[in-house]
Every structure is written in C-alpha cells, then in structure tokens.
C-alpha cells in the first residue's frame, strides 16, 4: 500500500485499430497479469473483506454477529464522523488553493526565464518531497515549540509573543503548513514540466501579436496546463481527505487540540486500534472512500469539460 498517488484523468487511451486483435488480447493480459494478480490480492481482497466486516459487529463480550446496515446507519448519525469530515473539507478548501497557488507561482516564475539561478530554485524547492512525513512532522513539531522551539526563540529574540501554533485554534493551520511545505515542490514540478512542453510556436505567435507577459500567462500557459492543474487538484483533494500522518505524529504535542476523531482517517484508525471496533471502522472508511471518489470524479469532470 503506497502513500498518496495521483489518479489519472479519464482520457481514454487511443484505441489502435488492429487486425490481429484476438491474438493480441491474451498477450495483453500476460503483461498486465502480474500487476493484476497482486492488485487483486492487495486491494480488491481487503476491500471485499472490509465490506464484509462492515456488516458485522464483534463485541468484547458476546462475540461476532451479523448486523446488516446498522454500522452504516450509526455512521450517518455519528457527530464525530461528520465533524471530522467538516474539518478536512475546511482544510481542503483553504490549504489546497494556497499550496497549488504557490506551486503555480513558482512554476511560472521558473518558466519565465527571468529568475537568477533557476535550476537552484527548482531543485531546492522540490527537496521537501523527499522528506518522509514522519521526519517533516517531527521537525516542524520541534520548531513549533513555544518554549524552546523556533517560535520560542523568536519570542525571546524579538520580545513578542507569537500565538502558539499548537493551540486549538491554530493547530489545523499548523498542520496545513506542514502539508504545504511537503508538497509545494512536487506540485510545482508537475506544473513546470507541463509548462516546458508548450510549443514555442505559440510564444512566437504571441510576440507577433504584441502580447505582454501577463497576457501570455493567462491566454497560453494556463490553458495549456489545464490537465496538470486538474490532476494536481484531484491528488490534493484526495490527500486532504486522507489526512492522517501529520495529525497522528503531531498529536503528543497537542493532545487536547488533536482529538482521536480529528480527521476521518484518524477516526477510523482510533476506532480500530484504540477500541477494537473494526467493524464500525470499516463502515466509516467505506463511506469516506465513496465520498472521496465522488468528489474526485466531479472535480475531474468539471475540470476536463472546460478544457480543450
């Protein structure tokens, strides 16, 4: 099970007319076979098992019973679940545009050719992607410390009292900061790569028309990388819904602010591993997965419809 990976747009692969179709058909399976088998084992089987689990309830006293859709009804009435969903939605609506906005700005700046030391910028801004979430969160956790972390140092150096990044009001933003830090470089690179393949003929045409830099950006560059924008957005949306690593590792520093139901993923994790409530956890996770898929699909449809 790999960490967040972006899905694809549903652009259909070109169907190659082939007279030898039937002979090809099983060879194709030969090549994709290994992937498919492992996939069935590692994804499909657990999903099926998860559905099965969600229809039962296993109690500490009393054992396992079939309960049909009870777990699902319970989930729909569960305040904790809905408030965690609200929280990641809020997170998404704020953090994703900020992160993608910064990434886009940097990509455009790199592409404009007007930076000193472009390659240095590109590589360095990308580096945080190579840092594991555990390390990133531990680092930022240390730095957020108001007594002895960087925040504390700034406080004593400048005689100010910065608000505590780990206080209840700010902790979500602090987590957002960590996620932004981790992924801005990655998204920047996706945008930059997309910008680099824009045909130069377009720019030549724009020069002839006398378009300024800004016009070039809005009329040529942005539309051209629409696909990359959509992909990055979908990926970030899914990542936001699945937020787990950062709150989980930061939690010992802010136990009251980061509750066990802080994000849907953390809630299902707590249900399973604190309370041994595997069945209910499976039901909540399935609901969460469906919601994520629907939203990702909607974003993709809307994104691609406006495109070429």
């Amino acid at each position: 099970m790999t960490t967040l990976q972006p899905p694809a747009a549903a652009t259909r692969p070109p169907v190659r007319p082939s007279a030898k179709r039937d002979r090809r058909s099983w060879t194709g399976w030969g090549f994709i076979g290994p992937f498919a088998v492992v996939f069935a084992f590692v994804f499909l089987a657990p999903i099926v098992y998860s559905v099965y689990l969600s229809l039962y309830r296993n109690q500490l006293i009393g054992g396992n019973h079939f309960v049909g859709l009870d777990n699902y009804t319970q989930a729909f009435q569960d305040d904790q679940f809905w408030s965690s969903l609200e929280r990641v939605s809020l997170f998404l609506v704020i953090q994703v545009p900020i992160m993608l906005g910064i990434a886009l700005f940097v990509a455009l700046a790199l592409d404009s050719g007007r930076l000193f030391g472009r390659d240095f910028f590109r590589i360095t801004i990308f580096l945080p992607y190579a840092v594991p979430a555990v390390v990133a969160t531990l680092m930022w956790g240390f730095m957020y410390g108001t007594q002895f972390g960087l925040v504390g140092d700034i406080n004593s150096a400048f005689g100010v009292t910065l608000p505590d990044p780990l206080s209840t009001h700010l902790v979500l933003a602090s987590i957002g900061n960590i996620v932004t830090w981790e992924f801005v470089g990655y998204n920047m690179l996706i945008f930059y790569s997309a910008l680099r393949v824009i045909p130069t003929s377009l720019y030549e045409a724009a020069e002839i028309d006398g378009a300024g830099q800004f016009r070039v950006i809005t009329a040529i560059k942005l539309p051209a990388i629409r696909g990359a924008l959509v992909i990055a957005t979908i990926f970030s949306i899914i990542g936001s819904f699945q937020l787990f690593n950062e709150p989980s590792i930061l939690r010992p520093l802010a136990r009251n602010a980061i509750t066990t139901d802080y994000t849907p993923n953390f809630y299902t994790y707590s249900l399973s591993f604190n309370g041994q409530q595997h069945n209910y956890s499976a039901a909540v996770a399935i609901i969460m997965g469906l919601i994520t898929m629907v939203i990702a699909y909607v974003v993709q449809l809307r994104g691609m419809r406006k495109g070429a």
Binding site: G30, I123, P199, A206, N245
Partner: protein, 316 residues
Amino acid sequence: MSTPVTTASASAPAPSGGGSRSAPRLRTPRKKHTPGRPRRSVLLTVLTGLILVYTVVPLIWLVISATKTQSGLADSNGLWFAHRFALWSNIHDTFTYHDGIFGRWLLNTLLYVVLGAGGATFLAILGGYALAKFDFPGKRAIFAVVIGAVAVPGTALAVPTFLMFSKIGLTDTPWAVIIPSLISPFGLYLMWVFATEAIPVELLEAARMDGAGEIRTFFQVSLPLLAPGVVTVLLFTTVATWNNYFLPLIMLRDPNWYPLTLGLSAWSSQAQTIGGDVIFNLVITGSLLTIVPLIAAFLLLQKYWQSGLAAGSVKE
C-alpha cells in the same frame, strides 16, 4: 537530449490557439521568451526566494540541530550552533544506540525499497505497456478500478489487510511491507502514458513481422525506449516506499524489521514515556541521515525524472 517525446503523437490533445505545426518539443533551456534578452527580474527572484527560504529553513534547522547534543538542544537557539559541535558523535551514537539497530533499520529500508519499489516499477512497466500497446478484454475496467482504488482511504484497507495477512502468517515479516508496496497506481498511469508516447507502433509491427515474440520485442525494442519513464517511476516509488509509515506501523511488531520511518517514530515516542531514554538528539540526527540518500538520488538522477515527468504531463 533525445527523448521519446519528440516522436509524433497525433493523439496528444493539441493546445488551443496558434498552429501546432511543430511537434511538441521539450525545450532546451533557452534564454529568450521575448525578442531580445528577457530582463532578469530581481523582484521575481526575491519573491521566489522567500518561498525558497520557507522551503529550506526547516532543513537548515535539521542540519544545525543534528550538530547539537541533547543538552545543547535545550540551551541553544534553534537556528545557530551550540557550544559543542557534536555532529560526528551524534552520528556515531545514532549508529551504535541499542546495539546498532539504526543500521539494521537502514538495511531494512533498502530491502523494502529494492524489492518493493523495484518490484512496483517492474509491474508498472509491464502493466503500462499492456495498457498502451495492447487491446484486450477488460482493459478499460482494469484502469478504472485501479484508479478508483486510489481514492480508498488507507485505513479502510489497513485492518482487513492486516487480518488477512495474519491468517496466512505474513505479518511481522518483511513480506507484509513489500507485497502491498508492489502496487503503484501512479506508476502504472505514468508508464501507460509514457509507453503510448515513446514506442511507435511501427517499430512493434516491424519486430513482429520479423518474427520476434512479444517478450523479446518488449525487452529489446520497447524497454530501452522507456528508460526515462522507468527511472521516474522508480524514483517515485522509491520515495513512497522509503517514506512509508502507516503500513509498517500496523504490520510489524519486531523492531528488527522496522524501516527507518518507524524506527525514528519509535525513538521519538520512547522519549515520551515513563522511564524512556531521552534521545531527541538521536531522533534529529537519525532524521537527517534518513533524508540524505533520497535527496542525493534525486539530485543525481535529475535528468531522467524531469523528462519522464514532463512526458507524463503532456498527456493532459
């Protein structure tokens, strides 16, 4: 730099506007956007520089903190050195603490990466190739299912996978970490896109007409053309496997099999328990040591993955 992207790809969605008479070409670094040299903008550089500072400050903090002893951490300012420069002794202590378990964790991580990411890349290459160059029943379904699976939260799968694996006796073994790592939907997608672009169908037809079997065709004709894509997928699956935390967290109990991420997290929480050794300086040094190999890999292999990623973006 000859990348497969320069081959004709009539199916690429043409950007709107101007004529696209010339095939999309990966631009070599040029200095001109506008006639004459563009002004290097100091303002732009400064603004981007702010973002660079944001990116780099935590890393600088990490490097500086790794040079401090446990008490040095307490006494000194976060962004400057303490009295004692202890980087080498920290590194030494990191590798010798608890009978050198850090070294073992490093080896474990390498094992998971080589087998997991290597295996994932291999499966993705084969699968992407199949999706790009063959037509077979169920093809669209496979792709939809795989991509749909990405949206499933990791925790939905974690416990059922754990229960499944424990019935077959796989938990607490390296296989419990390696096998799930073998699936990379992003890798599959990237290889599919890349293979579509990079391997002209004419070459394949030619090879088949010469009587080469599919497997030979694959290894001798297709694979070399896929090189940048392969490196890209390898790098990204390596990052994912190297940084994997949640999966090993639930699958492994024996610390001898931990990857670095899990080990660091264990050291960190050890300091937070009754009677635990306080070793924040080792956590920090260990963190630094954990990220150095990946960063080095990215720096050294830049050329490949940049073009691979570019190709992946073309398909949009």
